[in-house]
Subunit: 219 residues, 2 copies
Amino acid sequence: MLGALSKRRRSFVSGRDLVHQGQSEQVAYILMSGWACSYKITQDGERQIVDFHVPGDFLGLRSMLLHTSDHSIEPVTDIEVREVLLPDLMDAFGDAPRLALAILWAASRDEAVVVEHLVDVGRRDAAERMAHFLLELGARLRLVGMGSEAGYACPLTQYLLADALGLSAVHANRVLRKLREADLVTFRDGFVRFGNYERMTEFAQFDPTYLDQEGPLLA
Amino acid sequence: MLGALSKRRRSFVSGRDLVHQGQSEQVAYILMSGWACSYKITQDGERQIVDFHVPGDFLGLRSMLLHTSDHSIEPVTDIEVREVLLPDLMDAFGDAPRLALAILWAASRDEAVVVEHLVDVGRRDAAERMAHFLLELGARLRLVGMGSEAGYACPLTQYLLADALGLSAVHANRVLRKLREADLVTFRDGFVRFGNYERMTEFAQFDPTYLDQEGPLLA
DNA sequence: CGCCTAGTTGAGGTAAGTCAATTCACGTGG
DNA sequence: CCACGTGAATTGACTTACCTCAACTAGGCG
């Protein structure tokens, strides 16, 4: 369904922004392979990572629609994307109103992820927060066949996790140790392995409903 | 433009949920008067307020699109709304593709607000966070003619602010005192008054770009 | 009058931050 | 082939921002 929207394939190397805070180009991407992250930088140079993106995710929809992008997007690994241009999106809306609903659903799901992230940072302590976040990533990866209840391949560093969770890298490390010692998760060598998935979801109070695994409503 | 979408007017009294976490009704609202807030409750009963809503805001778009609502919405004061039903929205998309773009823009702006809120909670200390948040509310109210650089009428309690900012009510109180003593803002008797707007924006590192005051792009 | 909610302040505890040193894996160039 | 530099992870010692508990005030309303 989304294939028709996208003409050009592109590649980006790790670390070089695809979208830059303040830019006003009207382009978005569908992530085909690799991981990316969207983030904001505050004026005193601190970084808050808003979300990580995995294959299948729509990137930069918000930047495309607002006059100037409120955030940056950076590949975490080398990535491949398909480019989506605003005029093409508009044309597609005219041809297929249901597509508009599907895009709106995707945007809503994105927002639901950010909202849950806000709950993480606002109302869970560091250990629950980390556990919840690793479970969410796992659940999202499972939807695209890249993970299981056993775990998943994860190219993130502890620094990236810390910047996502509003923690210092040092504390992120300590928390990961505690979770490892409690045999809940092991984060090591590019893999996340769950010790006991059930205890883990209980510990993190993880309820994946907000990920809306069923796809857009076809009203 | 949005008027055609909405048939029924309704009123709700303060404190009684319009939308309930877990519900699956497909209805959204446009807020005509009063304030509301959207929030999530964690399993151990803590509340994170995700956003406050002021007249002109679209409420519950996300609940309408996801199969089951990930959050609740509660009036902070008595409110008046117009009801928007999903089938009506779909019909309107067929008639006017640009409307789809406008709704998508509104959703993106909402998400931008939540993202900035995440930056507040993840990367700013309590005082900056409070200052930033009060400035954002002011900027949004000014867009609908309900505030100025001098300040605005604000029906929130310190408890509500605390639950929005991920603070305890006690600490919210202390922070408000500090801001008052620094002559930056006074939060009292239902009014927010800015002491020195320029110093305030500087202190809070407030850059309103993300609020995208110009409205949807008409591609 | 008495209760309830909102706000205020103090004292003391704790989760998480900062600074700093160390290890390890890796790549690169002399 | 080894010396070196660099980024990631690890751990310890100390500091601090924020929390919790608790007591008290002030206004609104039955």
